[in-house]
């Protein structure tokens, strides 16, 4: 039972903090968000150089072999900085799928490139009717001898425009929402038959709609075994995004506390009003609760016992959703008009937290999932 960071983790944390301090001032981030790609290739190269892209990847393929807690440390600081580079899509999810299910050839070819920042991945799973059910898949993959041909629509694929390859869930057998019969495929972003519509998102990221009409795809993992694979890797992604959310919440809590101490109304700082004091205490307690569940889920995300693992994941996502909602909304409210402006950071964190609740299923979805487990 030990909740302290190791020396290496502390060094990593310091290093990400330095990066955020230097590269993620409000204006700098605003430019990134408005740029063509929506992030900086230079930052990406720097992340490769600093070993962050390699962090969670296996040593035998050019990685560092870090634990989920290592990723957590990184993601929390990314959350504090509202970092927009596609770390979640490429490394946590893309790398996660390759490690979990890639063939030896795929790993050998792709993981070193991923670690070196020479390859970017995206994950296409949502469909118009699927809502938050990963297994509600209507995209079809037809076998032609050894190769597969994919058709259908995928929605809200984060960072698809800048990915080299996209991991796509498609049905090789079974009916809609069957657990069996889903297969994951690696698809080249420039494959024929694939058309993309790219757009920004409300929280400053990029995403795309994909239309596939006979797109060539290579299976990633066992044919028909996609459901279990997605459970595993999306679970890891949830653990990581919980850490990002904790970073966002802490910044909001600190910023709002600071604001109340300096903003004078009725002749005294707002921090002297008991109602606002108690509100801040509630925000603080939400942050502490979110952090506790973030630790818990990152320590349990690779737990053997499937039910206990999935309960931990859903419970964490529920808590993060509730805490993020409260902290985000109250931060805007306590900042008054200033909290409504695009000019201050507050609203951007609030928007990110709002969207993090949506990611991989919102709190309602995970509460129901928890109850059903």
């Amino acid at each position: 039972m030990d909740f302290s960071l190791s020396e290496e983790q502390q060094l990593l944390k310091d290093s990400v903090q330095r990066f955020v301090r230097e590269e993620y001032e409000l204006e700098a981030r605003r430019k990134l968000v408005a740029s063509d790609t929506g992030y900086s290739e230079e930052n990406w190269a720097k992340m490769a150089e600093l070993g962050w892209l390699a962090l969670s990847l296996p040593e035998e393929y050019g990685g560092i072999g870090g634990s989920p807690v290592d990723t957590m440390v990184l993601m929390e600081e990314f959350g504090r900085g509202l970092v927009v580079e596609p770390y979640m899509s490429s490394i946590v999810i893309g790398g996660g799928f390759l490690m979990a299910a890639g063939s030896a050839a795929q790993k050998t070819e792709l993981l070193p490139k991923l670690a070196a920042g020479e390859l970017k991945l995206a994950f296409a799973y949502a469909e118009r009717q699927s809502r938050f059910d990963l297994n509600d898949v209507e995209c079809k993959a037809e076998a032609n001898g050894d190769s597969y041909s994919l058709s259908g629509h995928k929605g809200v694929v984060f960072h698809a425009a800048t990915a080299d390859k996209i991991i796509v869930s498609a049905r090789t057998s079974g009916g809609s929402r069957d657990t069996d019969g889903i297969t994951l495929f690696l698809v080249d972003n420039n494959a024929s038959g694939l058309s993309r519509r790219d757009y920004p998102t409300v929280d400053g990221l990029r995403a795309s709609e994909l239309e596939m009409d006979g797109v060539a795809g290579t299976p990633l993992g066992a044919v028909g075994g996609g459901a279990a694979l997605m459970d595993q890797v999306v679970g890891q992604a949830i653990a990581a995004i919980c850490a990002e959310a904790v970073g966002c919440m802490d910044v909001l809590q600190e910023t709002t506390n600071e604001y109340l101490k300096t903003r004078v109304q009725f002749g005294v700082p707002l921090s002297k009003f008991q109602v606002l004091q108690h509100r801040m205490v509630d925000m603080f307690m939400e942050c502490e609760q979110a952090r506790s569940m973030c630790y818990m889920v990152n320590l349990k995300v690779d737990e053997e016992d499937q039910v206990e693992r999935e309960k931990a994941i859903s419970a964490a996502k529920v808590q993060i959703g509730n805490s993020g909602r409260y902290v985000g909304q109250q931060s805007v409210q306590l900042h008054g008009g200033m909290g409504m402006t695009d000019e201050l950071h507050v609203g951007h964190y609030f928007k990110r937290l709002t969207m993090i609740d949506t990611m991989f299923g919102n709190k309602d979805h995970h509460l129901k999932r928890y109850a059903d487990l």
Partner: protein
């Protein structure tokens, strides 16, 4: 005790409905219905239509262009406007500065300003908040110094809604540093074309440009633009705040409910409509119950002649519900709350929508509606008011 609308009220309601059916163009209705951005010309068009019918300023004195309606007619009129997806009436002229002018202004001011408000040829905005004065409005610092038959105004106003479209601004300015902060405030009407006025847009977190900062540098304002007495502006401002808060919200809340239910009926989860999933259905039902309660609460206040403390709790409860509805609607669209294509919020956007066509405005509206608990006296300030005024604490 009864809650029935009388037959005269019902006949009036039909008359309003018919008027809307005859006069509201389809594309304008669609903009409102889909939650798209409206331009100045949209508001103006509808306000002029209403004025042609004599319904633009029903709460004004009859001799100035108002109508002698029963409270139930006001209620019905507002609700029918909303349920019929009419553009809302911009309140700054007709509902805000006008009551101050016809209550506290002199005859010359009434003749000069009210007709232009009535025919929507002059647009107003409100100069109350300042960077240093939010909840503590009385601490405002914009100074008006008498110089002959002018005031010279210096200072900054902020959160000025639609200042970019306004011809005139009504301002609270400090004309004296003596006594309590409330005692040195005056109510001044200022032509936005006056030299020395500069407007800077404020972009809000939903990406829209509704509010502005307005900077005053040695702006000369004729003394005849002072309303009532010098240093009595706080009295007029409080009067106006009651008007501002007493707008009926029920109609808008019902419209939000319609949109929510319509979206949740189209969204799928596990192959069924989201609206039929027990968890989401319970959330919608909970909202509906709160809305019914709000409606009943508002109906109870209809009989009151002067808006009073109930304006404060209707504001708190109504804005809570506005926020809740916008949050549920965002939840309903799932992943499709993410895309943000600014142009998709304007009618005539020719690209196909990303995801379902109702999804685009949901996140911006949720973000934008955070303002409702902040503006017009934050909900914390309203609770302060109620604890003193009603509970005597």
């Amino acid at each position: 005790m009864d809650m029935q609308f009388g037959s005269e009220d019902l006949a009036f309601r039909d008359e309003v409905r018919q008027f809307i059916a005859d006069n509201l163009p389809v594309d304008l209705k669609e903009k409102v219905q889909r939650g798209l951005h409206l331009g100045k010309e949209d508001y103006e068009f509808w306000q002029k239509k209403l004025n042609e019918r004599g319904w633009f300023a029903p709460h004004w004195p009859v001799e100035l262009g108002g109508v002698e309606w029963r409270p139930t007619q006001h209620y019905m009129f507002q609700n029918e406007q909303v349920e019929g997806y009419c553009p809302s009436v911009m309140p700054f002229g007709v509902r805000m500065v006008a009551p101050v002018i016809f209550t506290y202004g002199n005859d010359e001011q009434k003749q000069r300003f009210l007709p232009d408000i009535l025919d929507s040829s002059v647009w107003w905005c409100q100069g109350y908040s300042e960077p240093g004065s939010g909840s503590d409005l009385a601490s405002l610092q914009t100074k008006a110094v008498r110089d002959g038959d002018h005031y010279v105004v210096n200072g900054t106003k902020t959160w000025t809604t639609l200042a970019q479209h306004a011809d005139w601004i009504f301002c609270l300015v400090r004309t004296s540093g003596e006594g309590k902060p409330q005692e040195g405030i005056s109510f001044l009407l200022i032509d936005m074309k006056s030299p020395g006025i500069e407007i800077t847009p404020i972009i809000t977190i939903d990406g829209s440009h509704e509010v502005n900062s307005v900077f005053f540098t040695d702006v000369r304002v004729p003394v005849e633009n002072l309303i009532g007495e010098e240093n009595k502006g706080w009295t007029y401002a409080k009067f106006l705040l009651l008007f501002e808060r007493s707008n009926s919200l029920t109609g808008g809340l019902k419209q939000q409910l319609h949109r929510l239910r319509s979206i949740a009926a189209q969204e799928l989860t596990n192959g069924q409509a989201l609206l039929d999933e027990p968890g989401f259905a319970a959330r919608v039902a909970d909202y509906e119950v709160q809305l019914r309660t709000y409606d009943a609460l508002e109906l109870r206040t209809l009989g009151k002649t002067e808006p009073g403390a109930e304006a404060s709790y209707l504001k708190i409860l109504g804005t809570d519900l506005q926020q809740l509805a916008s949050e549920l609607t965002l939840q309903a669209v799932g992943y499709y709350g993410n895309p943000f294509i600014r142009d998709a919020l304007v009618l005539g956007y020719n690209e196909p929508s990303v995801g379902p066509d109702y999804a685009a405005p949901t996140a911006p509206q949720y973000f934008n509606y955070r303002k409702t608990a902040i503006y017009a006296g934050s909900n914390e300030i309203q609770r302060n008011i109620l604890s003193k005024a009603v509970l005597g604490m």
